[in-house]
C-alpha cells in the first residue's frame, strides 16, 4: 500500500486556526506524499480555512500527489458549497 500522510483538521477550519493549520500543512507538504485530510470533526469552516485548503491542494497536486478527504463532515460540505468551492475542493 502506497504511503500517505494524514492531517487532522480538527473541529474548526476557520480564520482563528488558519495560521497554525498552515504550519501543520507545511509539515505535511515537506513529506512529499499524498495527503489525507481527516475532517470528520469539522464543526465550523469559513472562507479563510477553505481558501487555505484550496491552495494546499493545488500545491500538493503541483508536486504530483493527490489530496483526499477522510469522512468530510456535513458542515464542511455545506460551507464549501455555499462558498462555491465544492468542485475545487473535491467535495462534490
Amino acid at each position: 500500500m502506497a504511503k500517505k500522510t494524514s492531517v487532522s483538521l480538527g473541529a474548526a477550519l476557520d480564520i482563528m486556526n488558519a495560521s497554525s493549520l498552515k504550519t501543520r500543512l507545511e509539515t505535511a507538504l515537506a513529506k512529499d506524499l499524498p495527503v489525507v485530510l481527516v475532517s470528520d470533526k469539522i464543526e465550523r469552516a469559513d472562507s479563510a480555512g477553505l481558501q487555505l485548503i484550496y491552495a494546499f491542494i493545488k500545491k500538493v497536486e503541483q508536486r504530483g500527489h493527490t489530496v483526499s478527504w477522510q469522512k468530510p463532515s456535513d458542515t464542511l460540505k455545506q460551507s464549501s458549497e455555499i462558498l462555491g468551492l465544492s468542485k475545487q475542493l473535491y467535495l462534490v
Binding site: I15, D46, S47, A48, Q51, I82, L83, L85, Q88
Partner: protein, 710 residues
C-alpha cells in the same frame, strides 16, 4: 361547542406588540444594570407571547419564543451572565418577533428568516456559539422586510478587499443569508489565490459571482452586504431578460450621499426603484472610520416593521377603564337631564322658565364634558412615541462612538392618537439628527471643556391648546452665518437680505436646503428637515429652532392636541360664516382705527406695531357676492400661521366655539385656504380657514393680477 379563536387574534397581536415594547424597554434597562425583576418582566412578556401563539396555533412564533424563554430562564437562574452580546441578541429577537407577528397578522408567509436565529439560540444554549453569527442574526432579522416581485434572477458580483476576513466579515455568512432569499448559485473566482507558500492565511484572495433567483428587493440584498459596503466592489443587477428591464439597468454609484437619501426614508418613506448598485471600496486604510457611516444606515432597518405594526394596529385602541367609567357616569347624568327636561316640556308654563334655563345649561355642561371625555379616549401618553427612542439612541450612539445620556420628561403628557402616530417619524428623525450632527464626539467635547457625555433631552408638555415637544441637545449648535451663506449659495435668499437669527436657522428646513453636500459642510441639520417640517405642518403644527453656537440646539414642535376638534372663532363675511382657528388670531381692530397703506398698485397693508401685514379681503378672495359697503365698515382680524401674518378683512366677529372638523377633501375636494368644514348649531355648513393656505392663495392671486397688468 367550537369557539372561533380568530375573533381574539387582534387582541393577541396588540398584547404581543405591547409585550415586545416592554421587553425592549426592559432590555435597555438590563444593560444599565442587571436586575432580576427586569429579567422576570422580560420573561413574563415572552411567556405570554408564547402561550398566546401556541393557543392560536402560530407554531413558528411559539417555537421561537420557547427557545427565547429557555435562554431567559438561564439568565433568571443566574447560570448565564447578562452581557451586552446577550442583550443585543435579545433585542434582535424582539425585532424578529415583531416581524413574525406582523406577517402573521397580515396572513403573510412566515418565511424562514427566523430559523437562523433559532439555530443560533440553540447553539448558544448548547455552549457552541460562533462569534460572528451575531451579525448573521441581525441580517437575518431583516429578511422579513422584503416585498415579493416577479423578476428575473439577481446577479451579484462580490469582490472583497483582502482584509475583509480580518474584520470579522465572513462571506459564508452573507451567502447563507442570500440563500435564505431563494435559489443561490455561487461561483468562486480563485485565480488570485497565490501559491500556498505565499498565501497569508487571514487574507482573502477570492471573489465571487452569484446568481440569486428570488423576488426579493435590491434593498434586502444591499443589507446583506451593508457591513462590507466600503470594503468591497459590489455590483448587483437583475439579469437582463426583457428590453424594459435592460433600460432600467443603468449603473448607479452607491455613495455616502445615497445612504443619506436612504436614511431619509425614515420620514419620507419614498420607495426607490430597483436599480443595479455598484459600490466602490473606500480607502483601504480606513475601514474603522467608515464604520459610523455604514452603521448609521443600519438604523433605518428598524423602521419598516414598526411602521407596518402601526398601520396594522391602528384599527383599535386600548382605553383605561377609568376613562370608560367617566363616560358611563356622564352618559348617566345626560340621561337624567334629558328626562328632567322632557318632563318639564310636557307640563310647561312660564313659571318653570328658570327651571328650563338651568336644565338647558346643565345639558350644555353635560354635553361639553361628554365631548371632552370622548376626546380623551383618543388621547394617549406621548410615552408611546418616546419609548421607541432609547433603543435608537443606544444603538446609534454606540455606533457613532459618542456618549449620550437621554433624558425623557413629560412622557405622560397626552395627545391624540392620530397626531401621535404621525409625529413618531419626524421625532425620530430629529433625535437621529441631534445624535449624528448635534452632539459632538467624546474627544471634541473634552477639547471644548464639556462633559464627555452629551445630553439629549426629550420633553413634552401642554401649553394652551397645544402640546409642545422639545428635542434639546447640548451639542455644537448651528452656525447661522454658515446657514446664511449656504442659503445665498442655494438661491434661497438674496445676498444682503436682513433676516432675524431664528429665521435664518429655519432656512435649514426649506426644501432646497436639504442636500447631503450641505450636511457635510455645515455639520448636519440638513437631511430630511424639510420633510420633518412638512409632516408637522400637515398636522397643523409648527417647528421652531433655537441654537447657540457651542451650546446646543433646541427644536420646539407645537402640535394641536387633537385633529378632530378645534377651538374656533366664528366670523361673518357678507352673509357667510367662517371659522378661524382661535390659536391663530393675534388681535382684531376696527377698520376705522386701522392704519392702512396701499403699496405696489392695489396691495393694501396694515401697520401692526413695526411691521406691515398684507390685508386679504375675504369677500374678494372667495368671490362672495355682497352689497357695496362703506370702506371703513368692518374689522381686521390679524392672524398668524407658520410665522406669517396676514390681516383678514371681515364684517363681524361672532361667538367662539369648539367645532368638529370634517374633512372637505373626502366629502368634496381640497381647496387652498380652507382646512376643512364644520356644521354649525343652526345646521349650516361653515368653512374652516387655513391661514397659511390663505396667505399663499392671496399672494398667488396678486402675482397673477400683476402679470395681467404687466
Amino acid at each position: 361547542m367550537e369557539i372561533d379563536l380568530s375573533q381574539f387574534h387582534q387582541v393577541f397581536f396588540e398584547e404581543s406588540f405591547e409585550g415586545l415594547d416592554t421587553m425592549e424597554q426592559e432590555l435597555l434597562h438590563l444593560e444599565a444594570g442587571s436586575d432580576l425583576e427586569n429579567i422576570n418582566t422580560i420573561f413574563r412578556a415572552a411567556h405570554s407571547i408564547k402561550g398566546g401563539s401556541a393557543t392560536f396555533s402560530f407554531k413558528e412564533i411559539a417555537d421561537f419564543t420557547h427557545v427565547l424563554e429557555t435562554l431567559l430562564d438561564e439568565m433568571r437562574e443566574g447560570s448565564r451572565p447578562v452581557t451586552r452580546e446577550v442583550v443585543d441578541l435579545l433585542l434582535k429577537s424582539v425585532d424578529c418577533l415583531r416581524g413574525m407577528l406582523t406577517r402573521t397578522q397580515k396572513e403573510e408567509d412566515m418565511g424562514d428568516s427566523h430559523i437562523e436565529l433559532i439555530n443560533y439560540f440553540n447553539e448558544l444554549l448548547s455552549g457552541e456559539a460562533p462569534q460572528e453569527k451575531d451579525d448573521a442574526v441581525e441580517q437575518e432579522v431583516n429578511l422579513s422586510l422584503s416585498e415579493p416581485q416577479d423578476q428575473s434572477p439577481w446577479t451579484i458580483k462580490f469582490v472583497p478587499e483582502s482584509y475583509i476576513l480580518e474584520t470579522g466579515n465572513e462571506p459564508l455568512r452573507m451567502f447563507r443569508e442570500l440563500k435564505a432569499f431563494g435559489a443561490l448559485d455561487v461561483k468562486a473566482n480563485l485565480e488570485k489565490v497565490p501559491d500556498f507558500d505565499e498565501l497569508k492565511a487571514e487574507e482573502c484572495y477570492m471573489s465571487w459571482d452569484l446568481s440569486l433567483d428570488s423576488e426579493i428587493e435590491i434593498e434586502a440584498i444591499k443589507e446583506v452586504f451593508e457591513w462590507v459596503e466600503d470594503d468591497c466592489v459590489l455590483e448587483i443587477a437583475r439579469q437582463e431578460k426583457t428590453e424594459t428591464q435592460a433600460e432600467q439597468n443603468t449603473q448607479e454609484e452607491l455613495t455616502a450621499e445615497a445612504f443619506d437619501t436612504d436614511s431619509e426614508a425614515v420620514v419620507e418613506k419614498t420607495k426607490k426603484a430597483d436599480k443595479p448598485v455598484k459600490s466602490q471600496p473606500a480607502e483601504q486604510d480606513k475601514p474603522a472610520s467608515s464604520q459610523p457611516q455604514q452603521k448609521l444606515v443600519s438604523v433605518k432597518k428598524d423602521v419598516p416593521p414598526k411602521t407596518e405594526k402601526k398601520t396594522a394596529a391602528s384599527a383599535s385602541i386600548r382605553v383605561g377603564i377609568d376613562k370608560v367609567d367617566t363616560l358611563i357616569d356622564l352618559v348617566g347624568e345626560l340621561v337624567i337631564t334629558q328626562s328632567m327636561l322632557g318632563e318639564l316640556g310636557e307640563n310647561f308654563d312660564m313659571s318653570k322658565l328658570n327651571q328650563l334655563i338651568s336644565g338647558l345649561s346643565e345639558l350644555e355642561q353635560n354635553t361639553r364634558e361628554l365631548q371632552e371625555s370622548v376626546m380623551r379616549i383618543r388621547m394617549l401618553p406621548i410615552g408611546f412615541v418616546f419609548n421607541r427612542l432609547p433603543r435608537m439612541v443606544r444603538d446609534l450612539s454606540s455606533q457613532l462612538g459618542k456618549k449620550v445620556n437621554l433624558e425623557i420628561k413629560g412622557e405622560s403628557t397626552e395627545l391624540d392618537k392620530t397626531v401621535m402616530e404621525q409625529i413618531g417619524d419626524p421625532l425620530t428623525h430629529l433625535v437621529r439628527n441631534a445624535l449624528d450632527h448635534g452632539i459632538e464626539s467624546v474627544e471634541k467635547r473634552v477639547e471644548q471643556g464639556k462633559d464627555e457625555e452629551g445630553t439629549l433631552i426629550l420633553n413634552a408638555f401642554h401649553q394652551g391648546g397645544n402640546i409642545v415637544i422639545e428635542v434639546v441637545d447640548d451639542g455644537g449648535g448651528i452656525d447661522p452665518d454658515i446657514i446664511y451663506e449656504k442659503a445665498v449659495d442655494k438661491g434661497l435668499i438674496q445676498p444682503g437680505t436682513d433676516i432675524p437669527r431664528d429665521h435664518i436657522l429655519s432656512l435649514i428646513m426649506e426644501p432646497g436646503f436639504s442636500t447631503a453636500e450641505i450636511v457635510s459642510d455645515v455639520s448636519g441639520r440638513g437631511v430630511g428637515m424639510d420633510v420633518v417640517k412638512r409632516n408637522i405642518n400637515n398636522l397643523g403644527g409648527s417647528v421652531e429652532i433655537h441654537s447657540e453656537l457651542g451650546q446646543g440646539t433646541t427644536f420646539t414642535i407645537r402640535l394641536p392636541l387633537t385633529l378632530a376638534i378645534l377651538d374656533g372663532q366664528l366670523i361673518k363675511v357678507a352673509n357667510e360664516v367662517f371659522v378661524l382657528p382661535l390659536v391663530s388670531i393675534i388681535e382684531s381692530v376696527p377698520l376705522t382705527m386701522a392704519e392702512i397703506s396701499t403699496i405696489a398698485g392695489d396691495m393694501k397693508v396694515y401697520k401692526l406695531h413695526d411691521e406691515y401685514v398684507p390685508i386679504i379681503d375675504l369677500k374678494d378672495e372667495f368671490e362672495i357676492k355682497h352689497e357695496l359697503t362703506n370702506v371703513s365698515d368692518g374689522l381686521l382680524a390679524i392672524v398668524e400661521g407658520e410665522n406669517r401674518r396676514i390681516a383678514l378683512r371681515i364684517d363681524e366677529l361672532l361667538g367662539q366655539q369648539q367645532v368638529v372638523i370634517k374633512s372637505l377633501e373626502s366629502h368634496y375636494k381640497s381647496i387652498q385656504g380652507v382646512s376643512g368644514a364644520t356644521i354649525l348649531g343652526d345646521g349650516r355648513v361653515s368653512l374652516i380657514l387655513d391661514i397659511v393656505g390663505l396667505a399663499k392663495r392671496a399672494s398667488e392671486r396678486a402675482s397673477r393680477k400683476r402679470e395681467r397688468v404687466a
